[in-house]
């Protein structure tokens, strides 16, 4: 059953810019342009697209912060902008760029305050807090004022804050932005477990395709306000014909290497670029390379979202 249903959603913004000396020009900018989709309970959906594509605007309409210009949307049966406060009890929201915590309060006090705001029963609050503190490793941070937390610590705090009231739906707007690799990996593990254990429906926007690969079963790609893809991840990679690249540093300068399933796209001295379909594994390629050649170093480049989208257009 779909918990989030969106039909022909549109949002425009009026932008005024200086025209003449006194006249100001009125221009309409379409941020979201007729988007439709449905998300089932328990799904984990990645929402990707370049900057300014309309991801955040869509999330803000789904939470009730922004009122749609036209179109219909229902989250857990409610129209978000008309019944915003009612919906707030059923959703958790994390904005990666800003904190929903109180800057000057220790995490513990922020959590206690939120429990009051959300009317979380005392027992429920205590068990939830204990679980979240353990899973997100917050114990040493509970008495630190939020302003003194690092970005990764703050993000964990924000995610705990968004889950204290057991929301069945969780929105995350760029939760991994600015985090280091270890923090990103821990966050992904946490979200995957949350979905598996509590059945929480998760919708997250990101710029990081690795986030999507590790957590999401479904991907939606938005570009210039339009939904250009809605399906599972492997389908996206096939549709797009996206490629990953192994960059290998050899002992000596050689002719383009021959490894099955790859094509050499570039040679620069002892360094060579081998591209292969994004949906296949890099492991056999790496071992084939190491077996046949003297490899000094190698790295794997993931396709950038922008490239995938560009290929998506080329294919469609």
């Amino acid at each position: 059953m779909a918990v989030i249903e969106v039909t022909d959603l549109r949002r425009t913004f009026v932008v005024r810019s200086k025209g003449g000396r006194l006249r100001r020009e009125r221009r309409e900018v379409v941020a979201v342009d007729g988007v439709s989709f449905g998300i089932d309970a328990g799904e984990v959906v990645g929402f990707i697209g370049p900057n300014g594509a309309g991801k955040s605007t869509t999330i803000k309409m789904l939470t009730g912060i922004l009122v749609p210009t036209s179109g219909r949307l229902h989250v857990d049966g409610l129209d978000p902008s008309r019944r915003r406060t009612e919906l707030a009890r059923r959703i958790g929201v994390v904005f990666g760029h800003r904190s929903g915590l109180w800057w000057d309060l220790p995490l513990r006090d922020s959590f206690a305050l939120l429990a009051r705001i959300y009317d979380v029963p005392r027992d429920r609050y205590r068990t939830n807090l204990a679980t979240l503190v353990e899973l997100l490793d917050l114990a040493p941070l509970l008495d630190v004022p939020v302003r003194q937390l690092s970005l990764g610590q703050r993000m964990r705090g924000d995610i705990a804050a968004a889950l204290l009231h057991d929301p069945p739906i969780l929105y995350l707007d760029e939760p991994t932005i600015g985090l280091d690799l270890i923090s990103k990996a821990r966050l992904r593990d946490f979200l995957r477990d949350l979905n598996a254990e509590r059945g929480t429906t998760i919708m997250l926007t990101t710029h990081d395709l690795v986030d999507i690969e590790h957590i999401c079963r479904t991907v939606m790609v938005i570009d210039a306000g339009r939904l250009v893809f809605d399906g599972d991840l492997t389908a996206l990679q096939r549709v797009g014909g996206a490629t990953r690249t192994v960059v290998v540093d050899l002992e000596t300068q050689l002719e383009p290497v021959r490894v099955p399933g790859t094509t050499v796209t570039r040679v620069e001295g002892p360094r060579q670029w081998l591209s292969f379909p994004a949906h296949s594994s890099a492991a056999p390629i790496v071992s084939a390379l190491a077996a046949a050649y003297d490899v000094v170093d190698l790295s794997i480049q993931e396709p950038a979202i922008e490239d995938v989208i560009r290929l998506l257009y080329a294919a469609g």
Binding site: F13, G64, L66, V93, R98, G100, I117
Partner: protein, 248 residues
């Protein structure tokens, strides 16, 4: 209340600062006997009523001043996704009890004004006085909320808002009889600040309206308060529905 001494110092400090404000008016009266037909005691009455109303409104809704900043830094978004009305969250956030200093001073000046003015007390007069203190607070609250709605739309307009709240307070500290009729008409029918103290004070003091406006206005403060509150509520809802948030 963690820092008691600091709280007491702040409250006393604020009361003293506002007291100096009234001292300036008292000094002015050492050179004149009447201002616009009103004695020092009567001006104290006007001053106290307006000061109390602004003080109470500031205590409840003064935080709406920060709305512009909240819109710009995105924390207003966070308020909108919580299950409590954003106005309540704003009022409760950093609830500054030290603002009672202003109310204390206003009550002191009002008490002295009531004693020093020649009022022929009756039950209706007591009721009008009490109703006015409540209505006046509601009217200033409405102005704060109206300013808040404007900030939600414009992102920043604290100064415009201050012009009406603190400016309105300064304007109504003096008898309106010193102002031109246009000013009086606009604070009666547009921004109903004259109902905070002027009209009820005319009734308390049994003074004829120098502008010849209907005497019914002198009991109309609660009506003005209800209308102002309704207008503010409509504006607030409209403001939140037209909220654009910030990029990202």
């Amino acid at each position: 209340m963690t820092y008691r001494a600091s709280f007491v110092a702040m409250t006393v400090g604020q009361a003293l600062i506002t007291l100096i404000d009234f001292a300036a008016i008292a000094i002015m009266f050492s050179h004149i006997d009447e201002l616009g037909g009103f004695t020092l005691g009567e001006v104290a009455l006007l001053y106290g009523m307006s000061g109390f109303a602004l003080g109470a409104a500031d205590l409840l809704m003064g935080n709406t001043e920060q709305l512009g900043r909240r819109v710009r830094d995105g924390s207003f978004d966070a308020m909108l996704v919580r299950p409590v009305a954003p106005l309540v969250q704003i009022a409760a956030d950093q609830f500054a009890l030290r603002r009672v200093g202003r109310i204390t001073q206003a009550v002191a000046v009002l008490g002295w004004g009531l004693a020093a003015s020649n009022i022929d007390w009756s039950v209706p007069k007591v009721l009008v006085l009490l109703a006015t203190l409540v209505s006046g607070s509601v009217i200033f609250c409405a102005v704060f909320v109206l300013g808040g709605a404007f900030q939600v739309l414009a992102g920043d307009a604290t100064e415009v808002m201050n012009a009406f709240t603190y400016g309105g307070n300064t304007l109504t500290q003096f008898p309106l009889s010193i102002y031109p009729a246009e000013v009086v008409r606009s604070v009666t029918f547009i921004v109903p600040l004259a109902f905070v103290n002027w009209y009820p004070a005319l009734y308390l003091l049994d003074v004829e309206d120098p502008f010849g406006l209907p005497s019914a206005l002198q009991y109309a403060s609660p009506v003005a308060a209800v209308l102002a509150a309704a207008a503010a509520a409509v504006a607030w809802r409209a403001g939140v529905r037209r909220y654009r948030s910030t990029g990202s």
